[in-house]
């Protein structure tokens, strides 16, 4: 199985590659369009800031390639948010437009600190991505912006407002949490993705 991890200087990709290695899978970190197109599975991790990530994707022509992909695709964290239409981050940033959501910032308070950082529960799971999981299983989140709940939502989080913990449209799956850092629950989700 050929696994491509998209290289757009999008943050902590090494952890995703190590997580795949722990599952016995060797992934290729690449921005090469042919390699990405040919891969059986594509992972799109990301951390950091949306506007600079979009600039890097545009510089490598990935903003036009990614929406045309047809194999199972998994966005992680910022890699999920970038699949939306628009983000409030960076004074307003247009995104890839693969899924019909707009990314907004959590309101910060003394009770609900931002970033939303740590282990929180998943609910309303509805996807083969979550085979073997239970409602209220814990995964690790670190994010200040979120995608609201919509018809594309396949798992919900709550902080305190409900948000999309995972989304899907056609072959494009994405999770807001760090599946590569979510212990045995996260490992199972990665396994499920590899088995799609």
């Amino acid at each position: 199985m050929e696994i491509a991890v998209i290289d757009y200087k999008g943050g902590n990709v090494q952890s995703v590659i190590f997580a795949l290695e722990r599952l016995g899978v060797q992934a290729t970190l690449t921005a090469d369009h042919d390699v990405i197109r040919r891969a059986d599975k594509v992972l799109f991790p990301g951390e950091g800031e949306a506007a600079s990530a979009m600039r890097e994707l545009q510089a490598q022509g990935l903003d036009t390639l990614l929406p045309t992909l047809t194999q199972p695709f998994l966005g992680i964290c910022l890699g999920m948010q970038l699949l939306g239409r628009h983000s409030e981050e960076g004074g307003g940033t247009d995104l890839l437009g693969i899924l019909p959501f707009d990314v907004v910032r959590f309101p910060a308070s003394a009770e609900y600190k931002v970033p939303h950082m740590g282990w929180n529960t998943l609910s309303k799971l509805r996807s083969p991505l979550f085979t073997g999981l239970q409602e209220e299983d814990y995964v690790y989140f670190v994010h200040s912006y979120y995608a609201p709940v919509g018809q594309y939502t396949i798992a919900q989080g709550q902080y305190p407002t409900p948000f999309s913990a995972a989304v899907q449209r056609k072959n494009f799956y994405a999770v807001q949490f760090h599946t590569e850092k979510s212990s045995t629950v996260g490992t199972r989700i990665l396994e499920n993705f590899l088995n799609l």
Partner: protein, 252 residues
């Protein structure tokens, strides 16, 4: 519901885990990768690696350690200790660290926080603040393992760090560290109320009840400790069961 985090801290020197009582008299507590994996299995929510001799050492050892840990560990971890440049931070993040904590370098040049947050995102930039109490000045920020008083008020510094783009504050009470008499509830509570980014409380944990207190009374988002975990005085699981009985949300 977002849970309160329990974070074992592994002080590392020359690739080995050590823990000093009040930063003196180091004792060897084992191999960092093996210890990290054990904590992950026992239910630790995150780990912190603090390279206590980093300021006098080459970076290569720490980068290699980060890579070895990231290869094994399926929970997040933070690396700190003598980290002072954008290049240092980039090397650690590229090799698998989830967050990097900065301390003295941020106090020497606070703009470093802005630069790191802009480059890598706030979510991976932790500002470690070491506070010590004295009757004349209250809680002030110290550097160089607690020997140098910066003259900065602890709450004010944490507020500035948050405003500049830190994603989290790791607040250590030097007055409590190594005492096992409990966390510094007053300064932890004051910082937690003053800012809207997460606060990790550190220094003084000696009992399960100390963690209950720091979550319930000081509103910490996470509690960090070292020796009580390393020497098996408190197990992570029994600690979390205690917290759950006290009505504190934890991942079990």
């Amino acid at each position: 519901m977002l849970t309160k985090r329990i974070i074992p801290c592994l002080d590392v020197k020359d690739g080995r885990t050590v823990k000093g009582v009040r930063f003196e008299g180091l004792r060897d507590a084992g191999d960092p990768v093996a210890l990290a994996s054990r904590y992950a299995r026992e239910g630790a929510d995150e780990l912190v690696f603090l390279d206590i001799t980093a300021t006098n050492q080459k970076r290569a050892t720490l980068v290699a350690l980060v890579r070895d840990v990231a290869r094994e560990l399926d929970i997040p971890f933070t690396v700190g200790g003598g980290i002072g440049t954008v290049t240092d931070v980039e090397a650690l993040l590229l090799n698998g660290a989830d967050k990097v904590s900065i301390n003295s370098a941020a106090l020497a040049r606070p703009e470093l926080i802005d630069e790191l947050a802009a480059r890598f995102g706030s979510q991976c930039i932790v500002v470690a603040a070491d506070a010590r109490y004295n009757d004349a000045d209250g809680w002030q920020i110290y550097t160089r393992a607690g020997t140098n008083n910066t003259g900065r008020d602890a709450v004010e510094w944490c507020r500035e760090a948050a405003d500049r783009g830190a994603g989290e504050i790791l607040l250590t009470s030097m007055s409590n560290d190594g005492t096992k008499d409990g966390f510094a509830l007053d300064i932890t509570g004051a910082v937690s109320r003053a800012i809207t980014i997460p606060v990790v409380a550190s220094g003084g944990a000696g009992s399960k009840q100390d963690f209950t207190n720091v979550f319930q009374q000081a509103h910490a988002d996470a509690g960090l400790a070292a020796s009580i975990f390393h020497f098996g005085e408190i197990g992570i699981r029994e600690l979390k069961e205690h917290l759950r009985q006290d009505g504190i949300p934890v991942r079990l």
